[in-house]
């Protein structure tokens, strides 16, 4: 009966306190769309310094976050990649309407893997037979994917390119497909495009519907004023230059 003590030891070990986080220290939990990864990693420490609050950044897909916040996900503030998710959650009563704020407009770029060779300068270049795969975010649920589809349609190359398209789950995943050279080219967000493995050129903003990104404070948040302060910080004197540097157009400068 050697196995019984073994299982009991397992169970005992598992139930040991210690490793588990007991009480949560007072902090601000931010659910942020994946395209904000680089910008917010730089912004958050500055906000912490300015306010003394501790910020926990959680990056992921806007759609997943929307499901989670609807089900009581422990966010204090939600930065979506697309304002439609914010509006739907406000209607559901999960977000505070009066805190809804536009914080940026996204831009897309045409990215070429450096390993591939010459930088593509316009969307028609994707038709080149040497470009075997073109990565875009999934247009069904990713805002940047929708914008990519609109731009490709506007350029009249969508139908011809369809067999070459591969879909990333979100914009960071799409970038990785090009970064690794798995796709020779792709359409990604300007905010994530500054990586050594790719060359990029801007796609005109008139080629797609505006990528208006909104944020709002979560209704269940125990510290709504801190969440609002973070939104204002992102839109404020210290936040705007950083957001711009990472490829987001701040409100009022669209």
């Amino acid at each position: 009966m050697r196995i019984v003590p073994l299982v009991l030891a397992f169970a005992w070990l598992a139930l040991q306190p210690g490793a588990a986080p007991a009480a949560d220290p007072p902090s601000l939990t931010v659910f942020a769309a994946a395209d904000l990864t680089f910008a917010f990693r730089e912004l958050a420490p500055r906000f912490e310094k300015a306010t003394g609050a501790r910020v926990t950044l959680v990056f992921g897909s806007t759609g997943n976050f929307a499901h989670q916040i609807r089900q009581g996900g422990p966010a204090d503030v939600f930065f979506a990649a697309d304002q439609s998710f914010i509006d739907a959650l406000i209607v559901d009563g999960a977000l505070l309407r009066e805190t809804r704020t536009l914080y940026a407009q996204g831009r897309i770029v045409l990215a070429t893997a450096r390993a591939f060779g010459p930088k593509l300068i316009d969307l028609r270049g994707l038709l080149d037979a040497r470009v075997r795969h073109v990565a875009i975010a999934n247009p069904l649920h990713a805002p940047y994917g929708r914008a990519a589809e609109q731009a490709l349609r506007a350029a009249g190359v969508w139908d011809a390119l369809r067999p070459k398209l591969v879909f990333g789950e979100n914009i960071r995943h799409t970038l990785q497909i090009v970064q690794t050279g798995a796709a020779e080219a792709g359409i990604v967000a300007l905010s994530v495009a500054d990586v050594p493995e790719i060359d990029w050129v801007r796609i005109d903003a008139s080629a797609h519907a505006p990528l208006d990104q909104a944020a709002a404070v979560v209704r269940r948040s125990p510290r709504p004023e801190l969440g609002l302060a973070f939104i204002q910080f992102v839109n404020g004197a210290e936040g705007r230059p950083i957001m711009k540097r990472f490829g987001f157009m701040p409100p009022g400068e669209f």
Binding site: R2, P21, F59, H67
Partner: protein, 217 residues
């Protein structure tokens, strides 16, 4: 480097493995030894978590245990919240791995000669005693194999955990989620180091268990 994800993952996988054994072994025994209505249905339900994509499964679980879900509301009425806690990560790991325990242990029980069990019964042993002194010892290696599979699956669980526990650093960010996060943030050195840690754990564990497997029950 912050090692919190490592400790959390170990704790979650150990808890989940203990729970899968507690729930999985009796189910495996039922499937191997009893004929009852709905048995085929149960067999199908058991492997369902392996068929559904983890994130989809995670979404359904979240709808069930979330604040607006039926189970979530029942738990809330007694002051408990499971979604987005480390307990949700345990639940995710159990759901993801229990099929592996049930199927291997069931196969183990089925290879045990029923005549040996009957011989024990003719000697006056109770069903309980037959199970502990005949069936389980003879199926011991299958139980061990199922345990290893379940532990490894629990340690690597990603999709379900992401949905029901969230990916909150310092609270519910397990090792696989932490690795994924580092990759997303282009911090490849940290990602590689964490991945190496995960691989190291499993190698040490498998080595230890292969020793253990040579032992008799």
């Amino acid at each position: 480097m912050d090692l919190f994800p490592l400790w959390l993952s170990l704790r979650v996988s150990l808890s989940a493995t203990a729970l899968t054994l507690l729930a999985g072994v009796p189910i495996a025994w039922l499937l191997a030894r009893r004929r009852f209505p709905g048995r085929n249905l149960l067999e199908a339900v058991v492997v369902l978590p392996l068929v559904l994509p983890p994130t989809v499964l995670g979404y359904y679980l979240l709808v069930l245990i979330g604040r607006r879900g039926p189970l979530g509301q029942a738990l809330a009425s007694v002051g408990l919240e499971l979604a987005f806690t480390w307990g949700a990560a345990v639940l995710a790991a159990v759901v993801g791995s229990i099929a592996l325990v049930i199927k291997s242990v069931q196969a183990g029980f089925e290879t045990v000669d029923v005549q040996l069990e009957q011989a024990a019964r003719t000697l006056g042993r109770s069903e309980w005693s037959v199970f502990w002194s005949v069936t389980l010892p003879l199926a011991w290696r299958s139980v061990l194999a199922g345990t290893v599979l379940a532990f490894c699956r629990a340690l690597g669980e990603f999709g379900i955990t992401l949905m029901v526990a969230g990916n909150i650093p310092g609270r519910t960010q397990t090792l696989p989620l932490a690795i994924y996060d580092r990759v997303q943030a282009n911090l490849m050195d940290e990602a590689n180091a964490l991945a190496l840690v995960a691989v190291g754990i499993v190698v040490v564990l498998l080595f230890g268990l292969s020793r253990l497997a040579r032992l008799r029950y």
